[in-house]
């Protein structure tokens, strides 16, 4: 099986896997980083969202071969201690119900806010609508993104 050198949360990691293995399963099964979640496997729900060179990407549909040479950030690497403004806002608002979708929601929101610090209500809805929350915590997600926007550096 081919070898891949990845850069995950600022650390070099090398793994062996078949070329079509999605980054999601590399993270979860090969690297034991289970914060990134599996929801659909077909880029429809956003549970598996990570940052690739700072942009939100669906790791379930990104073959490991194309993740080489890129900066991969997962929920575990978003901050050392949960202190990223988006994480803090999620806590302040008490967003989660079951919590399963929330890593993906946070990763989508944080990539977006890094580029747009003053989003409108409609822009937030538009960017977050790719992330399904089966518990329907959507009102609180909206509120948390608004709060986080005000606290981004």
């Amino acid at each position: 099986m081919p070898k891949y050198n990845l850069n995950v949360n600022g650390k070099p990691r090398s793994i062996e896997a078949s070329a079509d293995t999605p980054l999601l399963w590399i993270l979860r099964d090969h690297l034991d980083m289970v914060g990134t979640k599996f929801g659909c496997g077909i880029a429809q729900c956003g549970a598996c969202t990570v940052h690739i060179d700072g942009n939100a990407a669906r790791s379930c549909s990104l073959p490991v071969a194309s993740a080489e040479g890129k900066e991969i950030t997962t929920i575990e690497g978003l901050s050392e201690d949960g202190s990223h403004p988006v994480q803090m806002a999620w806590k302040e608002v008490d967003v989660p119900q079951c919590g399963y979708c929330q890593a993906g929601q946070i990763m989508t929101a944080s990539a977006f806010l890094a580029q747009n610090k003053n989003p409108s209500e409609a822009e937030i809805k538009n960017v977050m609508h790719g992330n399904i929350c089966r518990c329907a915590a959507y009102n609180r997600i909206q509120k948390a993104v608004e709060i986080a926007a005000g606290n981004m550096e």
């Binding site: 078949s18 914060g35 659909c40 496997g41 119900q97 399963y100 399904i132």
Partner: protein
Amino acid sequence: MSATSASITFSRRNFLRTSSLASGGLLIGFNLFTACKSDVKPPIDLAELNYKDFNAFIKIAKNGAVTIFSPNPEIGQGVKTAMPMIIAEELDVAWDKVLVEQGVLDTENYTRQVAGGSQSIRFSWDALRQTGATAKQMLVNAAAAKWGVDASELSVSEGVITNAAGKTLGYGDVVDAAAKLEIPENVVLKEPKDYKIIGTDQVNVDIDKIITGKPLFGLDYKVDGMVYAAVLRPPAFGQELESYDATEAKTMPGVIDVIKIGEKAKALLGKEEINWTAQLSPSEKVVVIAKTTWDAFKAKKAIKAQWKDTSTLESTEYQDKKLNDLLDGKEFTTLREDGDVNKAFAQADNVLERTYESPFLPHNCMEPMNFFAHVTDKKIHLVGPIQTPEDAANTVAELLGRDVKDIHLEMTRQGGGFGRRLYGDFVYEAAEIADAIRKPVKMVSSREDDMTTGVYRPAIKYRIKAAIKGGKLTGYQLKEAAINGNMYGLIPNFFPAGAVENYRVDVANYESNITTGAWRAPYTNFLAYAEQSFFDEIAEAMDMDKVQLRLDLLEKVKGTTDERIQYNPERLQAVLKMAVDKSGWGKAPEGTYQGVVAYYCHNSHVAEVADVQIENGMPVVKKVTCVVDCGIVINPLGAKNQIVGGVIDGVGHAMYGQFGFKDGVPSSNNYDTYRLIRMNEAPVVDAYMIQNELSPTGLGEPALPPAGGAVANALRAATGKRIYKQPFMEDLDFWRVEEKEIIG
């Protein structure tokens, strides 16, 4: 007509036991659901902590730190936060100093740990308060003995005991002495007005782990040497495995083996010991065992399997016809009958009859079904998300022919439940696989597996008929045609039972090979929409205000002596009036159209008003005002999350949830073909809770059922059209309205 006196008994004297911990401190074991045997004691060593006769524990350490082991499965409904809050309140400790841990289920020892029916808080409210208060009293008694004063002279706040002279002792200072005292009886519980923790907003106890991506869920659980299993199940309901060829799959990367399971489950089918949560499949299945989930998923696709038809391959049209035949037929069971509906219809000025239809629905928990199992000759270790751990352990013991004492079952946090994880099919699969390969293994369903091999909410039809005479509602008949079972026995006693003189509920069903079961707010999740949009039509036929009709009907139930009536008319009127007030009912601005519902289910009273506007020629649900009376609210922050989520879930499934079958094969298998409500479609939900001092009821379900009705009624107000079928948005052209010309 008290709604529901829970049939749970616990002896105040017997349900608590204490012991001194070897490491110092006090351990209090208690059982939420049954009395403990009088001869058992909690262990003195925490390592031996189990559920022999207690399903929950409080530990108070010598430094005063309090740990509460919460027993009930957490599926997102918030009990892991709310249940310990109740203990902490009566114990009188500061909430932010309390550590909460999920209790395990040890089948050597379990009693009852279930998440379902919005019951966790309702059933444990008394026991949790008694436990906290008893522990506090023991600590106070120990302090009184130390000071040589009467316990009644002491006061307590946040874990500090103060005497008349102003001297203080912390719980940690007296905990060792307290552990040696007799358990006091008849402890005094706090008055609700003195609550400091109950009724305050507290953030989910797992919040830090959730936002930083720490392992929490079943899918996250891992041990050294663990392998992954993907299960190939029959593609259609009504089919079974005939043969398979795994030659290619076995050569694929990461694949360890391909095996067949299911013989053991088949042997159990129909056995009496197996209860309703079992949902065993009649078919054998092919399982890929691989080093990673992806390897297993991929190799599964390479298996060439032959399936044989063993029973009817049902299609949606077939089911539709069956249900219509039931409604048109004569074979009904009558669940409640008051007066004579036929006479009322015969004498009526006006008879209204409508039929309402709903599709099947998958649960679609965000975390797909999965379970960890490791079977050895000595032990069976099971870990994962399950709402009925006790049943799962029992069934696994039956399945593998093992003593239930060999089973150790741990519950993880669960990525949604909605009723799906009441059924243990995935646990038995994991156990059967682990028994065959004798390695630690995680069975993982893909989304496609999860959606196409579900335990669905069955399609249901209701036919409702009303008699109106002299401007009054004189008769009401509800007929239910369902699949694999009918509404549970309390539902015929929900509103409007008792409010209409001639009233009757008839039910019928047929047996299908499609696995069906509870789905968040079973039956009422669809019935509420049917009945409450029917009430709107009754109001229109009687030329009455829609709110007034409901208030008038409820008025008639006041003072009823009918013990069967489940709801409280005063409480239902109160939520309705508050919803009218908060939503600005009748005073909506130009372009906003409203629909109202008042409903009772799952022991809570709820009213909702939906606001619809027309955007780009289509009706859009903008806002839902929801008022809930669920008694005392333990954690308003968590409770509101449940209410808002429940409402949006209800709106989403009423609008978009579409699921059917073609020759036994489900019509959708992933989110590209199954529509769940998303952020841009979610209305703003304004949630209110009635403040009272009545015992708490449940919140995981009751806000969902009224939402569909409120939306249907608002859609009618906005477009003039009535919809009799879910999902509402199946045919968009039905709703399209001419754009009004914008002038100026």
